[in-house]
């Protein structure tokens, strides 16, 4: 498990845990960023991330990507 901010570009990861204040957690959940979802990191500029989740592309600032914990999904 590691913060999303550390994931390299092009990697697929599964969301394990989202921490943070109530407002933050439910806000990202409302946008579909939930535990168990698989996302792909398209772009990672020192913690500023562009991810793909289903058909949507979501930008995450550093403050957000440090609070979302993920694990690698084995390819194949």
């Amino acid at each position: 498990m590691m913060p999303l901010s550390m994931v390299e570009e092009k990697r697929l990861v599964r969301i394990v845990r989202i921490i943070g204040g109530r407002g933050f957690v439910s806000r990202v959940m409302n946008m579909g960023i939930n535990e168990g979802e698989i996302i792909k990191v398209l772009n990672n500029t020192r913690g500023l991330l562009l991810i793909s989740l289903g058909n949507s592309r979501i930008a995450l600032g550093r403050g957000a990507s440090f609070r979302i914990f993920v694990e690698y999904v084995k390819k194949g």
Partner: protein, 669 residues
Amino acid sequence: MGYKIALAGNPNSGKTTVFNLLCGAREKIGNWPGTTVEKKQGYFTYQDERIEVVDLPGTYSLSAYSIDERIARDFLIKEKPDLVICVIDASNLERNLYLVIQLLEMGQPLLLDLNMMDIVGKSKIRIDTQKLSKILGTDIVETVASKGKGIKDLKEKIIVNLEKDIRKPFKIDYQNLESTIEEIILLLKDKEISLNISPRAAAIRVLEQGFDLLKEIENNTIPHIEEVKNKAERELSRFTGEDLETFIIERRYAFLKGVVKECVKKEISLEDRLTFSDKLDKVLTSRILGIPLFLFFMYLLFQMVFSLGSPIADLVDGFFGSLAESAKLFFENQNLPFWAGSLVSDGIISGVGSVLVFLPNIVFLFLGISILEDSGYLARAAFVVDRFMHALGLHGKSFIPMLLGFGCNIPGIMAARTLESRKDRILTILVNPLMSCSARLPVYILFASAFFPKNQGLIVFSLYILGIILAIFVAKVFKHMFFKGEVAPLVMELPPYRIPTIRNVLLSMWTRSSLFVKKAGTIIFLGVVLVWLLSSLPLGVGYAGENSLIGKFGKILAPLFKPAGFGFWQAGVALVFGILAKEVMVGTLGTLYGATEEGLKAVLLQQFTPLSAYAFLIMTLIYIPCIAAIATIKRETNWKWAALAVSYSLILGWVLSVLFYQIGKIFTG
């Protein structure tokens, strides 16, 4: 009688396109006074039935985190539309359905519009709409709004749904919480509170969000309910380790997962999907090229505004010049009183004309912004500059209000609503007036073309940059003084890139530009008439002379601006009238000197030096926002912040223009 329907949906679901297609050119932008409301309103007629349509702000949920969401929620609860059309991005079904089930839980009559079906068609996803319709208990229409497909069908279904009330009870199983929900429903019944939503929805709302909604209705909390809620919270955290809100959201998604599994076939894996949009993003948002490309696009935008706008502006100027001439001749030939001719030609035509001259530039600016917006780049720009904005204590999303501020500060200030945190929002609002709005552009262009004919673009660009630098500086200071603490993290969906549709771009350019023309017809018109009147009184005085009322008034102000190099009364008067609306400054100068653009330039060249002209532009950029902007700041925050915005800008503007002039004098001798 007429029906009232509302359009709801996630951001980027194509809601506004559907709205424009439904209402056609008859759309009007409604901006309700009082509360912070911005919903678009229009209507259409179908089979002799007049139907009013309200386009709500795009939201992911009805949780009321940001003001946008609150507007949508309040509208649904308080205004009770007869039907809500929920526009859904079909290529993103699960997330989009979240809002749908919240609406269904509220007991809202609903019609689903599965939009962007063309994208679904292209990928390997198949949606079983019949099954979906059955599970959710609502009718479904398929559309491709960007191509205008399915709108007739949508209109038909709207009528059908309005005429039959096919509301079916909709229930999600909240497992552990069901008994608590029942308990609260009973308590609410005891109180006989007239809720506009179903008791079950109200109970869930209390558990999820607390008492905000009940407080609004009852003006206080209900002690029993609070007890029940706290007990449920404790138990839930003991059994599942989660808080109420997270648990409820998770249950809803669990339900949705089931729905999507039932109705959607063959979801292809993420691996092999690198769309055209992603490829573009690789370049446009890349670490190295992101910021340079961003600056390049901004430069292109301003180049377009000037190189395309200015030749047309010259034509407009010529037109108003000869119009003023012939008006004067007409009044002389008809033996009408001299003052009438002067009012029409010196006052109205010169004044309003000198403002409308800049319409071409403004139209091109709005055209550019609309293209950036519609293509999807604007959201990327917010992403690209987030790190930079963060360093300044602002939020990446603050960028969009700032950019809109270049068009007009009022929409800029209102766009700050999308920021979730109050601190970030107020900060963004406070510095927004430092973004050079299009109303200041006429003043810049007038002076730049008179004093720096070879470097017009550069001079104007430098003022825009100065405004940005100041915004950064002011934000830093205010952040330190009033809003210590962390900036809320950026979480923002980026819409896919697409070729902007001519219709959308032109429509949004038109609505924005027509506001400017309307202003020219109202505030600016009144402003120039007032200036003319003050310039002509007392009777018998030379028009706009030193002894006219306005001259005397200006003379009182003039010494204040002497250290900045423009200590003559015309400049002082122009600045005061600029508070009405910044464009009025050009009109005022036009009226005071009785000339349209070319003549005005000649007079200005005699009064200003290039140095004092630039100092004057610095003042114009910074000092006091226009009345409309002050009113908007007050409406979006409160009097305290509005007063701060007025006072800091006045002091900062004066200090900087004086500093610039005095230091410049040393170098130029």
